[in-house]
C-alpha cells in the first residue's frame, strides 16, 4: 500500500493506506482520534467534519488521496482543557449542546468560518453551519457560542 503524508493537527503524519480509503476511517481507526464522528457516511450530516486549510470538509467521504500534503485539523488539534480554543470555551459557557454527538463537527465548521471571516454576522454563522445537522435542537445556543468566541477573539 502506498504511503500518504499529510499534516495532522500540526504534526507530519504518514500512513500506509489505500488512497481511496476515507479519511474518517483512518482518523478513527488507524490513528485513534475519535473527535470526528460517523453519522451518515454520505457527507450529509457534518458529524465527521475536519478542517483542511480554512474549510470544513466531510471526512467520511473524503478519500485519503484528497488530503495528501494538506493541513488537516480535528478537534483534538483545536485546543485542550488547559489551552482551550475560544470556541471550546464559548461552547461551555453557553452550554451549547444536549447530547453533543454533532458538536465536534460543528466546532470544526465554526473554526473554519472564523478563519475565513473573523467577525461573522449571525446569519453568516447559521449559513456556515447549515451543513451540520443537530437533532437535539441546540442550534441557537451554538450560534450564540460562535458569536461569543468571535467577539472574544476580536478583543484579544
Amino acid at each position: 500500500m502506498p504511503t500518504l503524508q499529510f499534516q495532522l493537527n500540526g504534526a507530519a503524519t504518514a500512513v500506509d493506506t489505500d488512497p481511496d480509503q476515507p479519511l474518517l476511517d483512518v482518523l478513527r481507526g488507524r490513528l485513534g482520534l475519535t473527535s470526528a464522528h460517523f453519522g451518515c457516511g454520505a457527507g450529509e450530516c457534518g458529524a465527521c467534519h475536519v478542517m483542511v486549510g480554512d474549510r470544513a470538509i466531510t471526512s467520511c467521504d473524503a478519500p485519503m488521496w484528497s488530503v495528501a500534503d494538506k493541513d488537516v485539523v480535528t478537534v483534538e488539534g483545536l485546543g485542550t482543557a488547559e489551552r482551550p480554543h475560544p470556541l471550546q470555551r464559548a461552547f461551555i459557557s453557553e452550554q451549547a449542546m444536549q447530547c453533543g454527538y454533532c458538536v465536534s463537527g460543528i466546532l470544526v465548521s465554526a473554526a473554519a468560518l472564523l478563519k475565513r471571516n473573523p467577525s461573522p454576522t449571525e446569519a453568516e454563522v447559521r449559513a456556515a453551519l447549515d451543513r451540520n445537522l443537530c437533532r437535539c435542537g441546540s442550534h441557537n445556543r451554538m450560534v450564540r457560542a460562535v458569536l461569543r468566541a468571535a467577539a472574544e477573539m476580536a478583543a484579544s
Binding site: 461551555i92 452550554q95 447530547c99 453533543g100 454527538y101 458538536v103 447549515d130 445537522l133 437533532r135 442550534h139
Partner: protein
C-alpha cells in the same frame, strides 16, 4: 370517621432499590460516588442529579462522581423515558442522600462527643462546637450504608438548598468539547473487532438463502455468522466489515416481504385496520343539551423517525457462557431481560453497562443493535465486537413514532359554546420496548432460527400517561366528553416510543379545534382558553407566554401568530407557546415564545435547554418530517430523503421558566412538542386563513387545504 396522616412512603425508585449503598458511596480520595439507575441521553440528567446529591450531602458538586449505570451494581430504575427521571431518580437520591447525611452526623456526634443538633456539614467536613471536626471520608469505614432506606422524610427544606434551583454547568460538556471519549462509538477496547448485520431492503422480507463465499474471501474477515434469517459479518476493521457485508448482500436471497400502506392515505389505512378499542375517559353533562351544530374534524400525523445523528451502536464480549454488553439503551435492566430470553441464559450471566450515545428521543435501534452485537460476538472467540448500524438501516429498520389519525367532533350550542366533545384516535401502539413482555422486542429475535413474532406495539396504561391516548383528555373544563382510543392490531410499519408518544398528535388536534371554535366565536384564542381553564398553573403559563410575546401583536400581511398549550400527560410540565410565522406558500417559523412550569426547576438552564430543544425539534417535525415509503419499502433512508430543520431555518426561541421551588419537580423534555405543533398550525391559519390538519405542514399540504376550503 377517623383521620390519620398517611404513613410516610419511600420514593418509588428507592422503594424498589432501598439499599443506601446502591445509590451513594464515599470513596477514599475525598469523592462521592453517586449511582443513579437513569442514564444520560443528552438531557443533562446526571448534572441535575449531582446537584440534588451535592445539596443534600453538603459537598461541593466537584466532588461528586456520577457512575454510569450498569446491571452489575446500579439500582434498577426501569427505563429513562417519559420525562420521569427527575421525579423518580431525583426524589430517590434526595431522600437517600438526606438519610446518608443523617447517619454520618449520628456517627460524628458519637465520635466527637457533641450533640448531633450542633453539627454542621461544609463540603463534607463535619464540625461542631469547640472546633471539633471530622468528615464523611474519615467516618466512611465506620458508617455502613448497607442499610435499607427508611421512610420518614428528612430532606432539607427548600430555603436551605443552595445548588438545586441554580444553573450549574453540565458535568459532561467539557469532555464533549475537548473530544475526550464519552460516547459508546468512541470506546477503545483491546482486541476490538467490528460487526455488521445484513438486513433486507424490502419490508418484512426474510432471508431464505445465503451464499457466503464472496464475503469469506475478503481481507480482515473474522467470521460470517448465520442463525436462521439473521446474518452478519465480523472483521478486523470497519472498512473490512463494510466490504464483507456488501459481498454478503450480493449472495442473499429474500422472500417477497409484506406490503406497506399507502403513504398518501394514512388515515384511510389507520381507520380500516382491526383495532383494540378502549374508552379512555367519559364525562356526561346534566342535563344534555341539543347541539346547534357539530364540527367534525380529522387530524393526522405521519410516522416520524427518531433519526439520531449517530447510528445505533453496541459492543458485546463473551467469556464462556457470560456476556458483557455496552449499550446506549435507555433501559439496561429491560434490555438484559430480553437478552436473557433470546440467549436462554439466566440474567445473572449478562452484564449490561450504559455508555452515552447520541440523543435518541425514544426507543430507537439502541436495543436492537445490542442483540446484534451479542449474536455476532459469539463467533469472535472472546474478542469484543462493536456493531454500528448504517444510516440506511437506522432510518428504515429502527422503530418509528406511530402515525395517528384523530377525529374530534365538537357539539356547539347556538352561541358556539362547546357542549359536547368526542375525540377518537386510530394509531398503532406507541410502545414496544424490551423487557416488559414474555417475548423479546428486539429486531434480531424475529430473524433467528426459531424466531419470535414481531411484537405488536401496545400503549402504556392511562395512569402512566397513556400512549396513543396521551394528552387526549382535555385539561379544559368542557361540560361533556368521550375519549376513545383505537389501537391497531396490525403493524406493517414498526412503531415504538418516540418523544411524547401520542401527545404531539392529540395536543395538535385539540388545540387546533379550540382555535377554530374561538375564531368562529370571534373570541381571542387566549381569552377563550383561559375561560375554559380552572387550573391556576395552566392559566399562569398561558398568561406568561402571552405577556412575553406581547399578545396579540398587530396584524401584518404575511405574518401570523398562534397559541398552543398543554400540561404534558395532564400531570407533568405545563407549557404554553406563542408562535410567530412568516408565510405564503412556504412557512417559516420566526419565533417561539414559551412559558414553562415544571415545579421546582433543579437546573433552570437545563430546563430551558430541554424546552428550546423540544421546541426546535417539534418545529422540524411540523414543517418537514415524514417517514416515506412505497408499497414495498421505506424510502426515506438518508438525510436527503428525510430532511430535518437546518441552522438557517431554526426559529428564535424564548423561554420563560415559572419557578415553583415548593412543588415537586417534573421533567421538561417532552413538554414543548404538542404545544409548539399546535401554535405553528394556528399561526398558519392566522397568517393564511387556512387550517392545515395533516402534518407535516408543507407547501403541498397548505395548497391542498386551501383548495379544500374554497
Amino acid at each position: 370517621m377517623t383521620t390519620s396522616s398517611p404513613a410516610p412512603k419511600l420514593p418509588v425508585s428507592l422503594a424498589a432499590n432501598p439499599k443506601l449503598s446502591s445509590w451513594v458511596n464515599f470513596t477514599g480520595d475525598g469523592r462521592v460516588a453517586i449511582s443513579p439507575g437513569k442514564v444520560e441521553i443528552g438531557q443533562g440528567i446526571v448534572t441535575a442529579l449531582a446537584q440534588i446529591a451535592a445539596d443534600e450531602l453538603d459537598v461541593d458538586i466537584s466532588r461528586i462522581e456520577m457512575i454510569r449505570a450498569s446491571t452489575a451494581m446500579s439500582p434498577n430504575e426501569g427505563v429513562t423515558s417519559g420525562s420521569l427521571s427527575i421525579q423518580q431518580s431525583g426524589r430517590a437520591l434526595r431522600h437517600a442522600c438526606a438519610e446518608v447525611r443523617r447517619r454520618f452526623l449520628t456517627a460524628a456526634s458519637e465520635r466527637l462527643g457533641v450533640d448531633v443538633s450542633t453539627l454542621d456539614v461544609d463540603d463534607g467536613t463535619i464540625s461542631g462546637p469547640g472546633n471539633v471536626r471530622t468528615s464523611y471520608w474519615e467516618l466512611a469505614s465506620e458508617v455502613s450504608l448497607d442499610h435499607d432506606a427508611t421512610a420518614d422524610p428528612r430532606a432539607k427544606s427548600i430555603d436551605r438548598r443552595i445548588v438545586a434551583g441554580h444553573s450549574v454547568q453540565r458535568v459532561d460538556i467539557p469532555d464533549k468539547v475537548f473530544a475526550r471519549p464519552r460516547f459508546i462509538h468512541d470506546l477503545a477496547l483491546a482486541g476490538l473487532v467490528h460487526g455488521r448485520v445484513l438486513r433486507p431492503d424490502i419490508s418484512g422480507a426474510k432471508l431464505i438463502a445465503l451464499d457466503e463465499e464472496a464475503a469469506r474471501a475478503g481481507p480482515g474477515l473474522v467470521a460470517v455468522v448465520r442463525d436462521g434469517g439473521f446474518a452478519g459479518v465480523v472483521a478486523d476493521n470497519e472498512a473490512a466489515a463494510d466490504a464483507a457485508l456488501k459481498a454478503l448482500r450480493k449472495g442473499a436471497t429474500w422472500s417477497a416481504g409484506e406490503p406497506l400502506p399507502d403513504e398518501d392515505d394514512l388515515a384511510g389505512f389507520l381507520r380500516s385496520q382491526p383495532v383494540d378499542t378502549t374508552v379512555i375517559d367519559a364525562r356526561t353533562a346534566e342535563p344534555t343539551r341539543k347541539p346547534a351544530q357539530t364540527l367534525r374534524r380529522q387530524y393526522t400525523r405521519p410516522y416520524i423517525a427518531h433519526a439520531s445523528i449517530a447510528p445505533s451502536c453496541a459492543i458485546a464480549q463473551w467469556d464462556g457462557d457470560r456476556v458483557h454488553v455496552w449499550t446506549h439503551s435507555q433501559g439496561i435492566y429491560l434490555l438484559r431481560a430480553d437478552l436473557a430470553i433470546v440467549l436462554k441464559l439466566p440474567a445473572d450471566n449478562i452484564v449490561v453497562e450504559h455508555m452515552e450515545g447520541a440523543g435518541c428521543y425514544g426507543h430507537n435501534a439502541a436495543d436492537d443493535v445490542a442483540l446484534d452485537a451479542v449474536l455476532l460476538a459469539r463467533a469472535a472467540g472472546g474478542r469484543p465486537v462493536r456493531v454500528q448500524w448504517s444510516r440506511h438501516d437506522e432510518m428504515s429498520h429502527a422503530p418509528f413514532g406511530a402515525a395517528m389519525a384523530i377525529e374530534i367532533e365538537a357539539d356547539l350550542d347556538a352561541n358556539n359554546e362547546i357542549i359536547g366533545w368526542r375525540h377518537a384516535i386510530w394509531s398503532n401502539g406507541h410502545a414496544a420496548r424490551p423487557g416488559r413482555a414474555a417475548q423479546p422486542a428486539l429486531l434480531a429475535a424475529t430473524e433467528i432460527a426459531n424466531p419470535y413474532p414481531r411484537m405488536i406495539s401496545t400503549n402504556p396504561p392511562a395512569a402512566n400517561g397513556g400512549g396513543g391516548d396521551r394528552n387526549s383528555v382535555p385539561l379544559y373544563d368542557l361540560p361533556a366528553w368521550t375519549i376513545t382510543s383505537h389501537r391497531l392490531m396490525t403493524m406493517p410499519v414498526r412503531t415504538s416510543a418516540l418523544r411524547t408518544l401520542g401527545a404531539q398528535g392529540n395536543v395538535f388536534a385539540i388545540e387546533s379545534l379550540l382555535d377554530e371554535i374561538a375564531a368562529l366565536r370571534g373570541e381571542d384564542p387566549i381569552a377563550f382558553r383561559l375561560r375554559h381553564l380552572r387550573d391556576e398553573r395552566a392559566r399562569d403559563a398561558i398568561r406568561a407566554a402571552a405577556r412575553r410575546a406581547g399578545w396579540k401583536p398587530p396584524k401584518h400581511a404575511g405574518v401570523g401568530h398562534g397559541v398552543g398549550f398543554a400540561r404534558y400527560k395532564n400531570i407533568g410540565a405545563y407549557c404554553a407557546v406563542i408562535a410567530e410565522i412568516e408565510g405564503s406558500d412556504d412557512i417559516r417559523v420566526k419565533r417561539l415564545t414559551l412559558a414553562v412550569d415544571v415545579g421546582e426547576a433543579i437546573n433552570p438552564d437545563g430546563v430551558i435547554n430541554q424546552i428550546e430543544g423540544g421546541a426546535i425539534q417539534a418545529t422540524s417535525w411540523v414543517l418537514k418530517e415524514r417517514v416515506r415509503f412505497d408499497r414495498t419499502r421505506i424510502t426515506s433512508t438518508s438525510w436527503t430523503d428525510y430532511p430535518i430543520l437546518t441552522f438557517s431555518e431554526v426559529p428564535a426561541v424564548v423561554v420563560e421558566i415559572i419557578q415553583r421551588p415548593e412543588i415537586e419537580p417534573v421533567g421538561a423534555g417532552e413538554a414543548a412538542h404538542g404545544p409548539v405543533t399546535a401554535a405553528i398550525a394556528n399561526a398558519v391559519y392566522d397568517c393564511l386563513g387556512v387550517r392545515v390538519r395533516d402534518l407535516p405542514i408543507t407547501r403541498d399540504r397548505i395548497i391542498a387545504a386551501a383548495e379544500l376550503a374554497s
